[in-house]
């Protein structure tokens, strides 16, 4: 059942990517108000979702304990970052930095490296702060920004708990490999984004 669950989860996730509507700085309008707009935001912006998914896969590969820590660290740091960006956000984080972070975390998943717990938590916290800051900054002029911020944090919590929970119980070699291949694809996308960021 877990295997089917992972396959279905991966298919849904990719379907989400493929159906993703414009990933812009502005919130999409779900018609249900700012909390729901926030809930939908991470799922519809691949720039945010890709590194968050890579981080989740990394935590899942590390096992249940690591997954639980990242479940607290990633959405928590994202929330703190959003509040900081919303309150004080002046400089925008550069596109190349986001691309480099995406590449690095994807590569860690592809390599299936055993990292110390503290390092994984630190990476999750740094990622959350960086992207949360960018999100919060974009929300600064939105009405109901705090509700949207709460929605984004809840959405990330759901993504991390569902996906890391699935990956943490994986034992079959091919399923672990599928996770590593996903990481490799995310790293490759991050590298192309890095090249892209030097163009304009």
């Amino acid at each position: 059942m877990h295997r089917m669950g992972i396959a279905c989860g991966a298919a849904l996730l990719l379907a989400g990517f493929l159906l993703a509507t414009p990933a812009q700085a502005h919130l999409m309008n779900s018609g249900f108000g700012p909390f729901y707009d926030g809930l939908a935001h991470p799922l519809l912006s691949p720039e945010d979702l890709l590194p968050a998914v890579a981080m989740t896969l990394l935590a899942g590969l590390g096992g249940a304990r690591e997954g639980r820590f990242v479940l607290a660290a990633l959405p928590g740091a994202w929330l703190v970052g959003m509040l900081a960006g919303w309150a004080i956000g002046v400089p925008a984080p550069p596109a190349w930095l986001i691309a480099v972070v995406t590449t690095l975390i994807g590569a860690l998943v592809a390599g299936d490296l055993r990292l110390p717990l503290a390092v994984v938590i630190a990476v999750a916290a740094a990622l959350g702060l960086l992207h949360g800051y960018a999100n919060g900054r974009d929300l600064a002029t939105t009405t109901g920004a705090l509700l949207a911020i709460a929605g984004i944090a809840c959405s990330l919590f759901a993504v991390v708990s569902l996906l890391a929970g699935q990956v943490a119980v994986v034992r079959a070699q091919w399923a672990r490999l599928a996770v590593r291949i996903s990481g490799s694809w995310i790293a490759a996308i991050g590298m192309l984004m890095l090249g892209w960021s030097t163009r304009s």
């Binding site: 396959a7 890709l50 590593r180 694809w185 490759a188 192309l192 984004m193 090249g195 960021s197 030097t198």
Partner: protein, 220 residues
């Protein structure tokens, strides 16, 4: 390794999905994904090389068969990044045509060099392929969605090669794979000579390889 229905179905879900998506949602962003996805599968020279990477991996077995789909996308994206940054790489088209010749020859002869030799060979070609894509990218698409489509399509080409390569477990399948490798090498020779990378070429190359194969069989 027993294959479960879920693994076999997954690539198909991924392949079939974008068409459905583009039918309903229009706009630059989805267009970015679709054009990224179409780019690697629009040139026959690229397709045959990517698929034969998968075929060779399947012939080599573990650990190459799993090392390959994990490392190749990263190396290719590195080449793509160099292309996007405008770092010049001479002889890209020749490198791509040569990659089909070399990889096809490896599959045809079922070559088993040490793993690092295979990795370096495939890695060099990966940079050429990635670089060509990087320099050809259209400037005003959505970068992240284009990159996603591009990486997913290339990854699926490898998985297709590996899936076809699984027939290697049967003696007749082993023969067919080697024949396919000869076809890829012949197609690469045609590209190298400046031939068009179209479907007719593939058919011609397949016919030439089949003829050569029967001649070799008759001679032995």
């Amino acid at each position: 390794m027993r294959l479960r229905p879920s693994i076999i179905l997954l690539p198909w879900v991924l392949v079939l999905w974008p068409t459905g998506a583009s039918a309903h949602i229009t706009g630059d962003q989805v267009g970015g994904f679709v054009s990224g996805f179409e780019h690697p599968i629009s040139g026959l020279d690229h397709i045959v090389a990517m698929v034969s990477v998968g075929l060779w991996g399947a012939q080599l077995g573990a650990p190459a068969i799993w090392l390959l789909p994990v490392t190749f996308p990263i190396v290719m994206a590195f080449g793509g990044m160099l292309g996007l940054m405008g770092v010049p790489l001479p002889g890209t088209e020749i490198g791509i045509a040569l990659s089909a010749v070399a990889l096809g020859a490896m599959v045809a002869t079922e070559a088993r060099p040490p793993l690092w030799v295979a990795a370096v060979l495939v890695g060099i070609f990966a940079i050429f392929h990635g670089h060509a894509h990087g320099t050809e990218l259209p400037p005003d698409e959505s970068g992240v969605l284009y990159s996603m489509g591009f990486v997913i399509a290339t990854g699926l080409l490898h998985l297709t090669g590996i899936a076809i390569g699984l027939i290697h477990r049967w003696p007749s399948g082993e023969m067919i794979l080697r024949l396919g490798g000869a076809g890829v090498a012949a197609a690469g020779g045609w590209f190298l000579a400046g031939g068009e990378a179209d479907l007719l070429t593939l058919i011609r190359a397949g016919a030439a390889a089949t003829g050569g194969w029967f001649l070799a069989l008759a001679g032995s």
